[in-house]
Symmetry: C2
Subunit: 643 residues, 2 copies
């Protein structure tokens, strides 16, 4: 077969492919990202590229306008490479990693709460999972011929009261030379059992005294982003933190498209490989930034949703998306980090957070642990809002949870100009009640190219309060402004004219977008109601709300209540914990008490399948208004609207 050359711009990267190769797959394999919410299935129309030279087979789609096609736009997923070509990936089709680790601080959000090592100690929750001890062993002689391992174990027993020690083979391999190179002065790393009465493991030995260099890594594996923290196990301090887009994005934006990819031959292995690559990138950066020796990391804890967890562990997620939606496992044994490709020492154990069900995963369990919800007396509503909104209600006595398919509206999916909260996304918005002219504020303060989830909520609330849309999300057709118009039969509001954008097209919000938003927020609100009713309570009984998740941190509380996404309550009762998954992973790194409790908590969390609860559909339909058909639930908003 013939070989074809592709030059990617603006990367200026050249690759060779077989004649007839699919363009988006070729890019993926070369590590070049092109947006594709649908995973390259030809459905979403987001993988727009410009063919700057050469010709390409197909690539045409109803997702491209005639003028797009004339300008050279093609859909990469539909394109076959049949000659040497130059391909430009336009800004709207690229991810923007710069924004991940440098976002402005959240505004108008709930107060932030985080636990630290001192809190843990105060609460009697501190049981270090990995300790280092510096030891000066006696040297062997003709009167003392103890084997090296026996020498080490006996010394720890005699001088440190350590019983029931297991020495792993890699330590036995290192021991003879390390002992003699360091005159029998060594530091032993000891991993403690989570369950009382089980054995401690000597997992590493180092020459000399390194007892003050003992670190852990906590990782949140999100569908979109992977965040990691480097933690000093002596102080509990976070020494460095880093976020990276999950490399799996190139293989599908949401869990369903990932699962579909994983079902293809070699797909599971590929997805496992790329997420580990992302994790290793995160590790490399935080280790470097903190200036520590990677070999001195003693443990890693990872949390992710059920699909992310199964992909990480190379466990087929096939049955997660098939009725009756059964995960392979909820509990995973500790494994050697290196055995799944994580670039840490052979002695490092990886702890993976347990899940509850196919759609309430380890990230939510981690949030419940990290937020301390499982130890509170107060009736708590915990919400993590993303493509799936996971809801947990309960307190230290009981916990109930459910996932509701909110759809991808909050992450930019199903919204014509929807995008993640990356540079150019409109994240704040206001509208003149007189001229109906908008004020857009974008991430990075650049010209807009789309709308992110938090911006969408603010827009809908502002348009509702200004009377631009009604309680069904329909535009007031009578308003005198060119910004409200009908295009291809669909009413829309022009947020930014073509010349003011980065993308050479008008950025608009359509009635279809608003409908999708209403469905998303309705599903979540109805989910909370249904779950509470199933345990014999109602929204009014809730004493505190905990918001978790990257998206949650940018929710404008007041606006979220205005559109009926959150129940109307005193904002003082709402706590924002940020990345709950990362928080929980960090807590597990710090203390075995959390590692022990989490198994108990996972068992305690009763999972409800909302689709099986008859009242859910009623609550959902009732919530398909702004804010709700039952306006009595939103008294403050009603007073404001009537003013």
């Amino acid at each position: 077969m013939s070989i074809r050359q592709i030059l990617f711009l603006p990367h200026n990267q050249k690759i060779s492919v077989q004649d007839g190769a699919n363009l988006i797959r070729s890019a993926m394999e070369a590590g070049i990202h092109i947006n594709a919410s649908c995973g390259g299935e030809g459905l979403c129309g987001k993988c727009r590229v410009i063919i700057e030279s050469g010709t390409i087979g197909d690539g045409i789609s109803e997702k491209l306008s005639k003028s797009d096609v004339e300008k050279g736009y093609r859909l990469a997923c539909r394109s076959a490479v049949t000659g040497d070509i130059t391909v430009r990936i336009p800004v709207e089709s690229s991810i923007d990693t710069g924004v991940l680790n440098a976002r402005s601080s959240p505004r108008r959000t709930a107060r932030i709460e985080e636990m630290n090592l001192d809190d843990l100690k105060d609460q009697g929750l501190f049981i270090p999972p990995v300790e280092k001890k510096y030891l000066e062993l006696p040297e062997p002689n003709s009167q003392d011929r103890l084997p090296d391992v026996t020498r080490l174990v006996s010394f720890l027993k005699l001088n440190h009261g350590e019983n029931r020690l297991v020495v792993r083979l890699p330590v036995i391999r290192k021991l003879p030379d390390v002992l003699r190179q360091s005159s029998f002065k060594i530091t032993a790393t000891i991993a403690r059992p989570v369950q009382k009465g089980r054995k401690s493991h000597i997992i590493n030995i180092e020459p000399g005294d390194t007892a003050d260099r003992n670190f852990a890594i906590a990782v949140d594996i999100g569908t979109t982003t992977v965040y990691g923290q480097l933690i000093d196990l002596r102080t509990g301090n976070v020494l460095a933190q880093q976020g990276e887009f999950n490399g799996q994005i190139s293989y599908g934006e949401d869990v369903i498209t990932r699962i579909m990819y994983a079902e293809k031959p070699g797909g599971l292995e590929k997805l496992q490989e790329v997420v580990v690559k992302t994790i290793n990138t995160v590790i490399a950066k935080i280790v470097k930034r903190a200036g520590i020796d990677r070999e001195q990391v003693s443990s890693i804890t990872l949390a992710g949703n059920t699909t992310m967890t199964q992909l990480l562990l190379k466990v087929t997620p096939r049955y997660i998306r098939r009725s009756p939606y059964v995960p392979a496992s909820t509990l995973y044994p500790p494994i050697h980090a290196s055995s799944i490709g994580i670039a840490l020492g052979d002695h490092v154990t990886a702890l993976v957070y347990p899940a509850v069900s196919s759609y309430v995963g380890g990230d939510i369990v981690a949030g419940v642990m990290g937020s301390g919800m499982y130890r509170t007396d107060k009736l708590t509503l915990f919400m993590d809002i993303g493509t799936n909104a996971e809801i947990v209600v309960g307190n230290k006595e009981w916990l109930a949870c459910a996932a509701c398919s909110a759809g991808p509206a909050f992450e930019g999916g199903g919204i014509q100009f929807g995008m993640r909260a990356a540079k150019g996304a409109i994240e704040d918005f206001s509208i003149s009640p007189v001229t109906f002219e908008p004020m857009n504020i974008t991430v990075g303060n650049v010209r807009p190219k789309g709308i992110c989830g938090s911006g969408l909520i603010i827009m809908a609330a502002a348009l509702l309060e200004a009377g631009v849309i009604d309680n069904q999300g329909k535009f007031n057709r009578d308003l005198k402004t060119p910004r409200i118009r009908k295009t291809y039969g669909i009413w829309e509001y022009v947020l930014a004219w073509k010349e003011d954008t980065q993308i050479d097209r008008d950025v608009v919000l359509t009635e279809v977008d608003i409908e999708n938003l209403i469905r998303a927020k309705g599903a979540i609100y109805a989910g909370c109601q249904t779950l509470l009713e199933e345990v014999g309570m109602k929204l009014g009984d809730v004493e505190q709300i905990i918001l978790a998740g990257g998206f949650g941190s940018y929710i404008d509380l007041e606006k979220a209540m205005t559109i009926g996404l959150l129940p109307e309550t005193d904002p003082g009762r709402v706590t924002f914990i940020g990345n709950g998954s990362l928080m929980g992973a960090k807590m597990s790194s710090l203390t075995n008490r959390i590692r022990k409790d989490v198994v108990e908590v996972t068992r305690k969390m009763t999972n409800f399948e909302l689709s099986e609860v008859p009242s859910y559909m009623d609550h959902y339909v009732a919530a398909l208004f702004l804010p709700h058909t039952d306006v009595k639930q939103f008294p403050k908003l009603m007073r404001r609207l009537h003013r």
Copy 2:
């Protein structure tokens, strides 16, 4: 550098090497064996090769006679390849693998004892370490959404009373598809904890009902040979057995030369690799012969001396041969067989026998376990005779052990025509008391090429009883026979004239050979005496003797007592257990009771360093006669000699 060609005969194998390469190393790297007791150090003179064409640098040694050199003989270890050459490896420099698995049955040896599954059951020692259970699980539906792992574990708990189960990651990986491909009818393999109260592990699952296919492998890793057995875990029957020369032989014949090789760069890795290769050859053969599926092997148990064990586990043996002779460990944790390269399923755990000290290894502990010595009331003397003779005395209450450096005489080392018990080795001998003409019986009934250890003992005893040698091992110079002669100043007895041998040289037994034999047997006898005295007993107190080891099986008991290798006793009190190491490995495969007891036994075995006991040297010097200076210890022999 120039490349040189070597053609090896009779293999007819051609290899290319760098100019100047060492001949024996080049052969090793190509997998062609040349005997080298000294590990290629130029000391033993056994790596004789014939240069049939081309010339070679050096290769001359005082180990070669003038006429040898004229005939083209060179020592491979001293030869540098400086041109294209043809090298013939003569029969005396090659190993002969054919004999390993097809030896004639032992004659005039002690009775053989072996325990089987029924004995274990009778003695209440049977606790199966790995079980298989066939399970028909309920299928999930919208009312029963248990995760796959929970489904399996709950079912085992409810229907089989199984508690405290751990499911390993590889099983979790297999579970979703296997369950659905087999309509939720599966067989689970469950590994039981050795210590009570610890958890059982589900190590494998298979579709359908395979509960009747559950096998184990037991392996003895000897310095010279590796033996393996395939065991049916339902019946305890041995389905197949195989012996192979340990591939490490090419890197040195004894443990010391192996350790020296392991200390070279890459040496440890190489020795680990080749012994695993040998083990895998053994496994392949027994699995094939028994006609079973390799995936249905559930466990493997390995026993070897301390050096073999450390090499297998890639733990440097460097300090075993350096004062104060400390092993890295005596106890090793169970490991995944595949993690050290053993070609069995990922679920298979390898159990490695614990050792006592650098020179009393897992092979001896296995013998103590397999022979049942650790459970007897009788004062027992256990001996495993080889290059090192290991001695254990004691009973169920206490155990004491020691190693004595017997030297390699019994394995052919230090004996001019010494060789292993392979084809052509003289293994039986008698002498006419009138003509002093010999009758040689060789392994395989072919023309002799050397003398094996058991033959050597018989020769010395026969020569002593015939008055050909005196009690110091010196030839009677007055006998009228051309077979007794002096060559290069050393007296010798011609066992076979040149024309009657395979090797075109007279096969002789020299006074130096007999001296080496006397030193070897003296060291062992003195070792037994010293060890018994150290625990306040004497040889006369011994109630039974257990002989273990491949060599032991061919010892002629009467002759061994005649030369004073064994104390004079009623042959009915002597039991031969054959390969005690393999026997112990097999017992551990069959029952967790032995796996549990062995840790206790290892702790109980008090190790004595004979070189540190002052009386040892006195006993040794006293034993340097045939049979002993203190003839009162051999009354029967004395009566016979005086007749």
